[in-house]
Amino acid sequence: MIIGTLLSSPVETDLKITAIDGEKNLNIKLRQYGLFIGDQVRVLRLAPLGGPVLIEANGREIALGRGIAAKITVEAV
């Protein structure tokens, strides 16, 4: 089982969120967008110039800034 963050994960691979670092606030914010620990996600693409990571979760596409993506730990499914 490979473990990394959303930022370091290869694109188009099925992943599962195992932990969300940082203050509790981030956890709440991600929940507001329907992202919970245990959800399956895929990285679709990375924006150029240090831009956000585009992920797909529960059939919905969400862009996450790199700082946030680096705080989300995932494992390969």
């Binding site: 929940r31 924006a47 150029p48 831009g51 596409e61 862009a63 800034g65």
Partner: protein, 568 residues
């Protein structure tokens, strides 16, 4: 009878609202907050229903004011029936909110919107099964086409006549994570994935979000956008302005110039024509085009592409919208900072967006610098402006306490917009200009008329002499600069009056024109923009931003005076 519409962002809730509400809707605020909702009267089966469109929210348990206000409003007895709109193509998330709402124990109907979109991607939703398990009416809806709207409201009406909510046996967990799991289980049970039909929308992001082509298409799309807005605006501005000038001359001959009434009439007509001939011809196509880009789903793509660059300003991608808007008019730019969640981001975006030269300042740049010094100098001013904004972004980020947490943004699927929703959105925004900015513009023009009549100009020029002296400008430029705070393009019109001639090159040197224009581009936002700043951020922030722009303008103009003397 009051129904409240609630749903997650991009669920099509406002589309439904616009379908039934027409254009008579009123925008209100929750008591003591800037969180706004829209309310309208709807007549269904002989009953008048007050329909309240609440702000889109992913959850009620959130921390931002919109969510807390929404929750307490729904719990109050003011609402008879909750209409929960959910995107049928993303039911798992939608049910998260549905379960949360059911925990409130109020009468409620679930509308599964975008059934056509769900079908397109091959989803089959078992609405009756879900209704039975949840114990609330579940109805299909295609709000963009108006299908299912009437039966939805009828279901709400019959529910309101029942006594007490008759929820099913479903137990709603109190904990977020458990509720999320239940929502997922329900979605899995009642939604089956059939064959997905691929359409043009699925491949579009390969091009529009491409690391190279994405920027190319963005430049092309924005270029066409501005060209169309400028084309429509200027083709309306000229004849309308000419007509107004004709009427003004005729009327003034009757009333007599140099009299108090003559001056006031002149000011009034100037204020009206300023809105009708100069602002609205650009603002309407601009807001219409923006609504179109928004409904297609392209704005979040721009935010995605620009996020990396915006980080260098201390902001994130969503803040690109106020900047794009700013080139048209700073008022909608300031209003659009609402889309940012953090107050610090809103302040920073607003402070920087008012430095973007709006179309009125464009008139000064073109009328003075491009006309007398050549278009290259106008381009240099624009590039210099972007450089200053970037520098100020960095500087302000250093001064502000917190680091911006970064972007979290949903990327909606591309949709074909419907005329009605785009018109509706444009109208709501135009109305804010009509109600808030235009009256100020007219009042400003009337104040100018009084200044002229009582001949206060010399005193004002003297008051502003320290500034004009510092910038190496003639004393007569003082009044145009004061008038420019009322309306930016007035600084050019008044400059002509103040200097008593049509040919600026006879009274101003090239360097003076350049310095004057740079100062006008940056200094204090116009009065209607200040009003918008005050509404969005409060009086204190408005004053800070006004002071900030003044310092930036003085520094930039002094720099221009110093550097320009090497070239001109």
């Amino acid at each position: 009878m009051r129904f409240a519409l609630i749903g997650q962002p991009n669920c099509g809730k406002s589309t439904l609202f616009n379908q039934v509400a027409g254009y008579k809707a009123e925008t209100g605020n929750f008591h003591g907050t800037t969180v706004s909702f829209t309310e309208s009267k709807v007549r269904v089966a002989g009953e008048v229903i007050h329909l309240v469109d609440l702000p889109g929210t992913y959850t009620l348990a959130g921390t931002n004011p919109a969510e807390t206000e929404t929750q307490s409003y729904l719990q109050s007895k003011q609402v008879d029936v909750i209409i929960n709109v959910s995107d049928a193509s993303h039911l798992a998330q939608g049910l998260d909110l549905t379960l949360e709402l059911m925990a409130l124990g109020r009468p409620m109907v679930l509308a599964l919107n975008m059934m056509d979109e769900a079908k397109r991607i091959g989803l089959r939703v078992n609405g009756p099964g879900l209704a039975q398990e949840l114990g609330i009416p579940v109805l299909p809806l295609i709000a963009s086409k108006g299908q299912g709207v009437l039966s939805l409201f009828k279901a709400g009406l019959s529910l309101s006549r029942q006594t007490g909510p008759a929820y099913g046996k479903v137990q709603i967990p109190k904990e977020d994570a458990l509720r999320h799991r239940l929502a997922g289980e329900l979605a899995a049970k009642y939604v089956t994935q059939g064959e997905r039909r691929l359409t043009w929308r699925d491949g579009l992001d390969e091009l529009l979000l491409h690391p190279v082509w994405g920027y190319f298409f963005m430049a092309v799309i924005l270029y066409i956008f501005f060209q169309v807005v400028y084309g429509i605006g200027s083709s309306i501005e000229r004849p309308v302005l000419a007509a107004f000038n004709g009427w003004t001359d005729q009327l003034l001959q009757k009333v007599g110039m140099q009299t108090l009434w003559g001056e006031l009439l002149f000011g009034l007509l100037q204020g009206i024509s300023g809105g009708l001939a100069i602002a609205l011809p650009y603002l309407v196509p601009f807001l219409f085009g923006l609504g179109l880009l928004e409904d297609i789903g392209y704005l979040p793509r721009i935010a995605f592409l620009m996020d990396g660059l915006m980080h260098r300003l201390g902001l994130h991608g969503k803040a690109i919208v106020p900047f794009i808007l700013g080139y048209g008019c700073n008022i909608p730019a300031v209003m659009s900072t609402r889309i940012l969640e953090e107050r610090q981001d809103r302040f920073l975006a607003a402070a920087l967006a008012v430095l973007v030269p709006c179309s009125a300042r464009l008139a000064v740049v073109f009328g003075l610098v491009a006309f007398y010094l050549g278009p290259l100098w106008a381009l240099i001013i624009y590039l210099f402006n972007i450089l200053v904004i970037a520098l100020m972004g960095r500087l302000l980020t250093l001064l502000l306490p917190e680091e911006t947490p970064g972007l979290i943004m949903e990327m909606p699927v591309y949709r074909i917009p419907t005329g009605k929703t785009v018109f509706g959105k444009a109208w709501f925004r135009v109305r804010e200009f009509l109600v808030e900015a235009w009256p100020l513009l007219i009042a400003g023009s009337l104040a100018l008329a009084l200044l002229t009549y009582f001949n206060i100009s010399p005193a004002l020029n003297w008051t502003l002499r320290p500034v004009t002296w510092l910038l190496g400008l003639p004393a007569e430029t003082g009044v145009p600069l004061i008038f420019g705070v009322l309306r930016k393009e007035l600084s050019l019109i008044m400059l002509r009056q103040a200097l008593g001639g049509a040919d600026f090159s006879a009274v101003l040197t090239s360097l003076q024109m350049l310095t004057f224009t740079v100062f006008v581009v940056f200094y204090i936002p116009c009065l209607p923009t200040l009003a918008a700043l005050r509404r969005e951020l409060g009086t204190r922030s408005m004053l800070i931003i006004a002071g900030f722009t003044l310092i930036v303008a003085l520094t930039a103009a002094l720099l221009t005076r110093g550097l320009g003397s090497l070239f001109l």
